[in-house]
């Protein structure tokens, strides 16, 4: 079980990183038991969800260096699969979620094969194109509720329902997503040490060299893309049960895809902690900006203006993200 050992082995991180991680982990576990507002709880759940989206994106976008701006379509697949299966056939989350992942991954292989013939900007725009195509289809497809979307009404079920993931109190949702969060971290830890992880990093480094070392570049990228897709779809299914009200405009929009990529980039693409840091900064920022500024009449969109300014400043000033800054400082100390 070398894979398991690899997943659990964090020894190649400096001690201080592990201590900080430990502290944060403890805080995350203890959080719901401390006094908090429901707004804070909702923000924390969003943080955990987006960390997972970011971690998934990071496999292909960070380690792989292929900027994917169309991840939201898989969120939609996961969310709508779970929602449809629950509403129409009363299928519990734990069954519909893997099915959602399977569908999403299948779709990712179908478009991945032609998609990865492209690189750079062209690839990025193509990912947007495919995401918009799927969203447009969902918006006219009655089976998934078309543009109105679907609604899961909790009254029909008797919460707390662990099979269908219907709860009245957020705390249940919190711990479930926290569980996925920790599993996600373990998975990424395994990934970056696995053969595929190394192959991807070699590809990002120099594709021709990677080829000369026996790496099937095209296939490696497709596999990784599928992994990223699985992450996003899984959390998408969770999203359906948590938010209970989903429509293509919310779950599959370009803005959402960009947010996911942004999170990972801001925190530091290509590192384990990056997406988490990114989510940790951006999600509370976005939420509280909206709270304070967005609701005020006459200042519509002010929160987004500030938010977009932040994006612009970070892109121009420190493209390697927060973790990139940390590593830079460390390397300077070493020299």
């Amino acid at each position: 079980m070398e894979a398991l050992r690899n997943a659990l082995d964090f020894s190649d991180f400096p001690r201080i990183d592990l201590i900080v991680a430990g502290v944060v982990a403890t805080f995350l576990v203890a959080f719901p038991l401390t006094p908090h507002s429901s707004f804070a709880m909702a923000t924390m759940i969003q943080f955990l969800m987006f960390s997972l989206y970011g971690m998934g994106w990071n496999t292909i976008g960070g380690y792989g260096g292929q900027v994917d701006l169309g991840k939201a379509q898989y969120l939609g697949i996961g969310a709508f699969t779970t929602a449809v299966m629950l509403i129409r056939w009363d299928i519990p989350f734990w069954v519909s979620m893997p099915i959602g992942v399977a569908l999403a991954v299948a779709w990712s292989f179908i478009i991945g094969y032609p998609l990865f013939r492209l690189t750079g900007h062209y690839f990025a725009i193509a990912t947007i194109a495919t995401s918009l195509v799927l969203k447009d289809i969902f918006e006219v497809w009655d089976f998934v509720g078309a543009a109105r979307g679907l609604e899961i009404s909790p009254i029909k079920y008797s919460p707390p329902d662990f099979l269908r993931l219907i709860f009245k109190e957020d705390i249940y949702y919190y711990y479930i997503i926290l569980g996925f969060f920790f599993l996600g971290i373990l998975y990424v830890n395994w990934f970056r040490k696995s053969r595929l992880g190394f192959q991807l990093r070699a590809i990002k480094d120099n594709e021709a060299v990677a080829q000369s070392l026996g790496i099937n570049v095209h296939w490696a990228k497709i596999k990784t893309y599928a992994i990223a897709t699985a992450f996003v779809s899984l959390v998408g299914s969770f999203h359906a049960c948590y938010i209970k009200n989903i429509e293509p405009e919310d779950t599959m929009s370009l803005d959402l895809s960009i947010l996911i990529a942004l999170m990972a980039m801001l925190g530091g693409a290509g590192s384990l902690w990056g997406p988490i840091i990114g989510a940790g900064v951006l999600i509370p920022l976005k939420s509280y900006l909206k709270e304070w500024l967005g609701a005020k009449a006459g200042l519509v969109g002010m929160d987004l203006i500030l938010y977009s300014l932040i994006i612009m400043v970070v892109s121009a000033a420190e493209p390697r993200g927060i973790w990139g800054i940390v590593e830079k400082i460390r390397r300077r100390k070493q020299a």
Partner: protein, 248 residues
């Protein structure tokens, strides 16, 4: 036993004939040099052999199997490794990780890849540099890392592309020792493109000379150095007169 056979290889780039009807064979255990003026088509030849460029016509047979139309990673998996002349890295991998990538071609296990990588690093005297990012190293070390990485994939034939370029004399000595080690001790058949004459003429059993895409000479270094065609194209008569001793 012929390890590599190149039959009438021609490569055209939109009207420019980079390789023109080149044929030669490489036997197992040989150390062959490939020389020629800049633009002669040497790297293109390597690229065709390793599958990076599709050939316009001709055949390539490696270890008894036809590899002419295979993709680069398929060629590599048959045991044909190579280094690259221009190494542009985005700077993410450490030396050890880099070599491990090579090792991962032969194993799925990280532990095994790591062990093997360390062996190779020790062998090539790179152990001290294991934790550094490749992009942070000086050129001479980077060249050694590319060779170590290629060795990780356990090749039968190793194509080296100007591994001595940009090195000072003592570094050239070092690289020469490593090349000889790879060939003599590790049993890898080697073909190297080189401009540094002292190196290539000293280590090669045999030398092939290209000029304007064509093979113009082939033979032992000392013989080739005196070949009038080669001298005319490349070495220059004065050079041979003054440095003739080095080729004995």
């Amino acid at each position: 036993m012929a390890l590599l056979e190149v039959h009438n290889l021609t490569k055209d780039f939109d009207g420019l004939r980079a390789n023109d009807d080149i044929s030669f064979t490489l036997d197992q255990g040989e150390l062959v040099g490939l020389i020629g003026p800049n633009g002669a088509g040497k790297t293109t030849l390597f690229n065709c052999i390793s599958g990076l460029h599709p050939v316009t016509s001709g055949r390539i047979v490696f270890d008894g199997q036809e590899i002419t139309h295979l993709k680069p990673y398929e060629v590599a998996r048959r045991g044909l490794g190579r280094t690259f002349q221009v190494y542009v890295a985005s700077g993410d991998l450490t030396v050890e990780e880099n070599v491990m990538v090579g090792c991962f071609m032969r194993t799925r296990s990280r532990t095994l890849a790591n062990v093997r990588a360390r062996e190779i690093l020790a062998d090539l005297k790179l152990s001290d540099l294991a934790g550094y990012l490749v992009s942070e190293l000086p050129v001479s070390a980077q060249k050694r890392v590319t060779m170590a990485t290629a060795l990780g994939s356990d090749p039968k034939l190793l194509l080296l592309d100007e591994v001595a370029a940009g090195l000072n004399p003592s570094e050239i000595e070092e690289i020469m020792t490593i090349i000889k080690h790879i060939h003599d001790d590790l049993g890898v058949t080697v073909m190297l493109i080189e401009h540094v004459m002292e190196l290539v003429m000293k280590v090669s059993h045999r030398v092939i000379v290209l000029d304007y895409g064509q093979k113009i000479a082939e033979g032992e270094p000392a013989t080739v150095a005196k070949d009038p065609l080669v001298i005319k194209a490349y070495l220059g008569e004065r050079y041979v007169r003054e440095h003739g001793e080095k080729f004995k």
